[in-house]
Amino acid sequence: MTMSSSNNHRWRKAKSAFASALAFVAALLVIAPLGLVLFHLIRSGASSVNWDFFTNLPTPVGVVGGGMVNAIVGSFELLALAALIGVPVGVLGGVYLAEYGSARANAMLRFVADVLNGVPSIIWGVIVYGLVVLRFKSFSAYAGGLALGLMMIPLIMRTSEEVLLLVPTGYREASLALGISRWQTIVHIVMKTASKGIVTGILLALARVAGETAPLLFTAFGNRFWNHNLSEPIAALPLQIFTYAISPYDDWHRQAWAGALVLVVTILFINILVRFLTRERIARVL
């Protein structure tokens, strides 16, 4: 009896250790792609990231060299346009959720925002194509910026709400008790106190859409030259990477790796910076 029960116990312990080992291996496998992607990005991309890459326009096929300066600048222009749409709508929507809405209305809005977050990014491209490109008969930077901006709205709305809710109720009560009106309390006290968290949420949303390609395919469309007019097609780094990656030219492949390295480093830098700079409390809700 004692013999078999101790055997049984040992068997159960062994099973437990085995399951733990499996879980550990699973965790390694989950982060393995990150390591592999970063390794290959550096190996294949680092040699092509040079001064020319950041200063030159793309060269025609067959001409070695050239860079992606127009795509890098184009990406920043698109992000600025996106922020013009996504930031005010997202932040003020977040204010409504945190400060005004009834429990029922909020539950509904949150639900819709979360569902919207799950809409595939390619769909945003299709919608903006119908809304803007068809109407004005031209691919444009405005269309690309709108597509990215729409994607940012639910992201920013949810993070803004979370950080606004972290502001202690006492702050609001104290301000109202001084006779300050509600909206001024929200703008000057609540939003100001939460400003760091709101900015963090905006940065994360920008980092998220900075790598988006699908919504830009038929809105911003891409451009091999400088864009001098926002109502014309514009280059973007992820688009350029895609075009080069599926091209048959070795030199373009090298450029694609270089572009990918620059894009990933930028995105990861923003992510890491944001997480290091924000206080523990904000970092946790984001």
């Binding site: 399951a19 965790a27 003020l92 929507g93 809405g101 569902v115 769909i123 119908g130 895609f242």
Partner: protein, 330 residues
């Protein structure tokens, strides 16, 4: 009060503020509330706009092809004959492969992160998973084309073919670009989201559950299985469905490795096509109205499927846990 002042106003601003802010105005309050309400309602408006645009953009195609669109597998832009079946099939099969690969790994990782891992390792591991989530789809696709596909073609695929070549799933020529490669790359894309949502779910399991099981003499694995996993079953299911929603809509990476051939083949080594990738590839080349309409209809189908999966996932998650779960999704 002191805290409030020092936290919010600098000492210099303190005197001016009373003048700036009085007297309170009812109008400002109402206007601001309505403004924020309008901004909050944009998400509802956006869902409506997306649905309306897609339906409007595809009305001709819907009239012309009807339900056959979903059930026929010709995709012939020249003859203007369109059926979405190969794309629906490709989307479902590649997503299924992705789930088969990603779900066990993600949930095991979530278990490791909440139940088993030494405390010091947990935060760095979570950060690494967040970094994986931040890698853009197009870059994973680039890696897929130049690193993963050649490797799969040279080692695992021939091996699979030797071992399981007698089943239709792993027979036929090996090109590299294939349904299986598409599924694998989608799996990588959805690993982080399933892991982080599952982790939040497991964290929301009350400690009493675990303590009770430990008190009965259960081993660590038994505690996890009996007290944690079975308690969290519904929420974990929600996490999986959420991952499915992402998988169905995944575009760039899968477009770059799946082969983009509108066909239905039993072999997973054969190239396929998904709803999202046909839009990505052919949208700007659609020369005729009906071609563009057919692509809008594909968008409508994709939107419908993803909205539905997301709704189900959210409902499952909502019954399971509090705010933590939705945070993990961001």
């Amino acid at each position: 009060m002191q805290i409030l002042r020092s936290a919010v106003f600098g000492p210099a601003e303190r005197n001016g503020i009373a003048q700036q802010m009085s007297p309170p105005s009812r109008f400002g309050d109402k206007a601001f509330e309505w403004l924020t309400l309008a901004m909050g309602l944009t998400v509802v408006a956006l869902v409506a706009i997306v649905g309306w645009q897609l339906a409007r953009g595809s009305s001709l195609a819907i009239d012309r092809f009807g339900f056959h669109f979903l059930a026929t597998s010709t995709w012939d832009p020249v003859a203007e004959n369109f059926g979405a079946l190969p794309f629906i099939y490709g989307t479902l099969v590649s997503s299924l492969i992705a789930l088969l690969l990603a779900v066990p790994l993600s949930i095991a990782t979530a278990v490791y992160l909440t139940e088993l891992a030494p405390l010091w390792i947990r935060q760095p591991l979570v950060s690494l998973i967040e970094m994986l989530a931040a890698i853009p789809s197009v870059i994973l696709g680039l890696w897929g084309i130049f690193v993963m596909i050649p490797w799969l073609r040279d080692y695992p695929f021939p091996l699979l073919r030797r071992l399981f070549g007698w089943t239709p799933l792993f027979s036929g020529p090996v090109y590299g670009v294939s349904m299986l490669a598409g599924g694998i790359i989608i799996a990588v894309m959805i690993l982080p989201i399933i892991t982080s949502v599952s982790r939040e779910i497991l964290r929301s399991v009350p400690n009493l559950q675990r303590e009770a099981a430990y008190a009965l003499g259960a081993t660590r694995w038994e505690v996890t299985r009996i007290a944690v996993l079975s308690y969290a079953r519904k929420g974990l299911f929600g996490a999986v469905i959420l991952g499915l929603g992402r998988a169905l809509g995944e575009t760039m990476a899968v477009t770059m490795v799946i082969g983009n051939t509108p066909q239905i083949r039993a072999s997973l080594f054969a190239p396929g096509y998904t709803l999202a990738s046909v839009i990505a590839n052919e949208f700007s080349e659609a020369t005729t109205d009906i071609y563009l309409q057919a692509l809008f209809e594909i968008g409508l189908v994709l939107f419908g499927i993803t909205i539905l999966t997301n709704l189900v996932a959210r409902l499952l998650l909502k019954t399971m846990a509090g705010a933590g779960t939705t945070r993990a999704v961001q």
